[in-house]
Every structure is written in C-alpha cells, then in structure tokens.
Subunit: 303 residues, 2 copies
C-alpha cells in the first residue's frame, strides 16, 4: 500500500458560468466539488493506475466531510484524521471563455494536541506502507518541521518517503533523509537560496535527501542521484492544464519506488505521466491514451 | 409556537475580500455561513423578539447540514425534513467598497415521495402551532400548489396561515384561504396581472386571502382587510440593507396574529420592525434601538 499524507486537505469547488459581473448576481450552471490537495491528487493518479493507495492527513468541518464523501464515491480509501477546524475550500469560477477566477478560503488552525495525535496516527499507518508520499502546504498550527518528523518516522521504520513541499517545510523535511524529494525550480530556489538548479539539488542532497527530482514544466524532469544526473522530457502538450502535472510526477515516482524500477525508466515514466496529466482537464487525472503512447517513446538520458 | 416553513432552505455564504479580479485568485479574509431562506429570516426575527418559534422545511446535502448546524448554534429549534438533493448555496463576495457579487448555485430537485412526506410532516407540526408562516420560493419538483396544500392543512386544523410567496405559488396559495398574504407590489402584479395595488389586493382577496398586506419599500405598508384599508410607514432609513425587511414584516404580522393585536397596531409594529431590519446589516436581524424608538411613533392611518 502507498500512503499519501495531505496535511492541508481541501474541498475544491468549481462553478461553471456563462459570464459574471462585479456587483451583480449570477446563476451558476454547473457545480463540481472534489477533495483537493496535492496528496489527494497523487492518490487519485495512483488509484487510476491500479495501485493500492490509502489517503491520510487532516480534515475537518463540513468541507472536510464533503471532501471525504467525494473521495469514497471515487473509490479511494481514506484514514483521514478529524480536526476541529474547517478544511479550506478553494472556489474557482470558470466562464465560457475558460477564464478562471479563484477565491481561497482561509484554512483551519490545527491545535497542538491534534498535530501530536496526527503524527502518531500517520506513523502507525506508515509502518504498514511500502512508500509514504508527503505533499503540499502545512496548515496553521502544524510545526514547520512536520514533514521532517513524518519522514523520520517512516524512514526509521524502513519505509521510504517521497517529499513534495515548499519553503521551510521542504528545507527541514530534507534533513530527515527522504528517499526522494520532488520539487519545481522555483520551490528549489526558495528552499535552498540557490538559483541554479544543479546547486539547489546538491544543497538538498547534502541536507539529507537521497535523490532530488526537479520539474521544469515542458522542459521536463531532471533527477539528481548517487548514480549521476538524468533528464527526461515528453513532447509538449499544447493547450492543456498544467495543474496536477507535478502530482502525476510524484505518483509515477512512488509507483516506481514500490516496484524498484531502475531510475532511467522511472524518470521516463514520470515524464510521460506528467504530460498525460496536462492533457486531462482536472488535477488528479491523466489521459490514458496519451500515457500509453508516451510511456513507450519517452527516454531518460544521462546529462 | 409559531411554525415557519421554508421549502427552499439555503446556505448563505459571504466572502469578505479587499478586492478581486477576473482571471486571478484572491485570498478570502473572512467567511460567514448562515442558514438562509425567507422563512429562516422570519424565524430569526421572531426568536430575537422572544417568541417560541420552530423552523421546518426541506434541507439536504452538506449545505443543508451546515445550515442546520448554524441554526442550532443561533439557538433556533428546527424540525427540518431531510431530502436527498443538496440545498442551494448562495455566495456573495463583498469587497471593501461594499460591492456585492453573487453566485447562486442551482437548488435541489425534490422527489415526489419526499414532497408527500414533507406535506404530512408539515401538517402534523402545523397542528400544534398557533400561526404558520410560509415563505419563499419552491424548489424544483415541489408542485406549484404546494402552498395551497399547506395553507389548507393548517386552516382546516384551525391554525391561521401567513403566506409570502410569488408567481403561481402565490396565486394558487391564495385560493386556500390564508389569513394573511404579505406581498410586495411587483409580486402582487405578477401574481394577479393587476398593475394597480388596490386592484391586485382585491383580486387576491377575492381568490381567498382574508387580508392582504402590500409592502412598498420606504413608502410603507398597506393593509387590505374586511375592516377597510390601512397604511403605515416609518421614516426612511438611509444607507441600510433592505434585504430581509419583508421578512421582518412577516415576523411582526405573525407575532400580532398570535397575540390578537388589532390591525392598526399590528401594521404600525410591522412598519417599525421593517425599518429596524433595514438598519441592521444582515437579513434576519434588526436594530433593537431603532425598533424601540419607532414602535412608539409609527402610526397606521385609515386610507
């Protein structure tokens, strides 16, 4: 089982409207509500790939319950930990021209005992996982070294961790020795202070990350590991939706960790799945035809 | 006990933002969530006035549960009837300049057996009420004569009904003999086809309404009854929020029906409470100082 941990679970709501105007009221045509957060997207992709995946993290309030109900309806197992605060809601209003106007509600504030209980429960669940994926932002009240503590708990139990975080959470998390850090170029720069990708990846590896995979949009993925540096890129997908492409990369890397796939194939697979995710309209899904086609053609090369 | 029936219960959500732009994402500063719908506003005002009030109607989905939780937190008793569909959510985004941009989600579709069960339950509850207030729109799936059926059930049991509706629901509802119909001038015209208030009120009374109270914003209230025509108006409240003023009128009229207050006092009280509601920021509340002051000064006069 692959465990995905989403500490800042969300309810993602989309309103489809013809058009709307400031100061006026608009009737919404179609409403969709989905559980959100990076870890949830990773879990959706893994589930669609046929992997046994378990969703955990923090969820609270009616938004948390609605997100959980949607996860179950989508066939995903969860062991989310209930908090008193209300999980954040992200609203996107999409008009007929595809323009997206977003409103992000403030997230919950997690109490110290809630975090301690969550740390214990996540550590228990991690003990029976083959890989633990830790993704996304931290809600208020959760300590900056939350990922470091969770990575340490998994790693001490012999379970490899994949970390996808930002800022201080990433910088501290890397010191706990995650098997893989997945990061984009700007997150890498802000966490390490290094503006050159190679130097940033080296800094994270020196801090404790075993392997660092850097995503750079259509330019593809670069993997920095003991064995050297690898690069893989899929042909650019035009007019797609890049939201969730990074989560597809995490999903492919986690799947490769479970199966012990060698790094060149693992990275090529991640590049193919990422491009297939850009081809799909929603984060957490991918275009299976694009994926099937690209996974036989994309190759990783040593740099 | 005064029973308020809200067949199209809502969850009213307000986002307070500094400003927002099309095509961009805005972090929401403050979020408020309240149960909504005209009958709920009437119940809030009656509760604030110290009356024993019970909220019923149809509520479903997580929006229905959230609305119900808020009602309870506000100290209001409810016997809402659960439906499978999801209660409508109305979102208003208010910027620092007070401009309000609304998004109305589509409401639920009520199944025929749900409506039958609701009719039975509302009729049971009405039997132990002293007055029944029926307010607001009908959700899809509820028959156009829903208010007629509910008014008939209450009236046959000897309980007077106050109806605040629109269009066909009002036209049909009036035929069942409600003690009072409360209506604004444009609703009156659309329900009766009469563009003159006096003619419209006469048409509703001929159809079956015992008394008709017509609201006309700051111009005040006109009451058409067997005893003649009365008018009452409070001094205009400048810069207030007229949303919910009509619900304050219904609340005052229902309270007057319970106590058997003579019509001149009852109408003056309704005009005072309506102006006090305009002075309060939210529908379902009123400014108690304005109310105390106006109820001793506003007078109804025969027209």
């Amino acid at each position: 089982m692959i465990l995905t941990i989403t500490l800042n679970m969300a309810l993602d709501v989309t309103y489809h409207v013809e058009t709307f105007e400031h100061g006026h009221t608009t009737r919404v045509g179609k409403v969709s509500r989905r559980a959100g957060g990076k870890g949830v997207n990773v879990a959706r992709v893994l589930h669609e790939l046929g992997h046994d995946v378990l969703v955990t993290g923090l969820a609270g309030g009616f938004t948390g319950r609605a997100a959980r109900a949607e996860l179950r309806a989508a066939g995903l197992r969860d062991e989310l930990i209930e908090i008193d605060g209300q999980s954040r809601l992200t609203l996107v209003v999409v008009d007929r021209e595809g323009s997206a106007t977003g409103f992000w509600e403030p997230g919950p504030v997690v109490a110290a005992p809630e975090w301690q209980a969550a740390l214990r429960r996540c550590s228990e669940l991690a003990a029976s996982a083959s890989v633990v994926v830790l993704s996304g932002s931290l809600p208020a009240g959760v300590p900056a070294d939350a990922y470091a503590q969770l990575v340490a708990a998994a790693t001490e139990g012999g379970v490899p961790a994949l970390l996808d975080a930002d800022g201080e959470a990433l910088a501290l998390g890397a010191t706990a020795g995650p098997a893989v850090v997945k990061v984009n170029a700007s997150e890498l720069a802000s966490a390490t202070g290094e503006h050159e990708v190679q130097a940033g990846a080296r800094a994270l590896r020196r801090a404790g990350a075993r392997t660092v995979v850097v995503t750079d949009g259509a330019a593809g993925l670069t993997c920095f590991a003991d064995q050297g540096v690898l690069h893989a890129a899929a042909p650019e997908v035009l007019g797609g939706n890049p939201t969730g492409a990074g989560d597809a990369v995490s999903a492919a890397l986690a799947a490769g960790m479970v199966a012990g796939v060698p790094w060149p194939e693992r990275l090529a697979e991640a590049a193919a799945l990422s491009a297939a995710a850009v081809s799909a309209p929603q984060a957490g899904s991918f275009d299976p035809d694009v994926y099937r086609q690209l996974r036989t053609t994309v190759q990783a090369v040593a740099v």
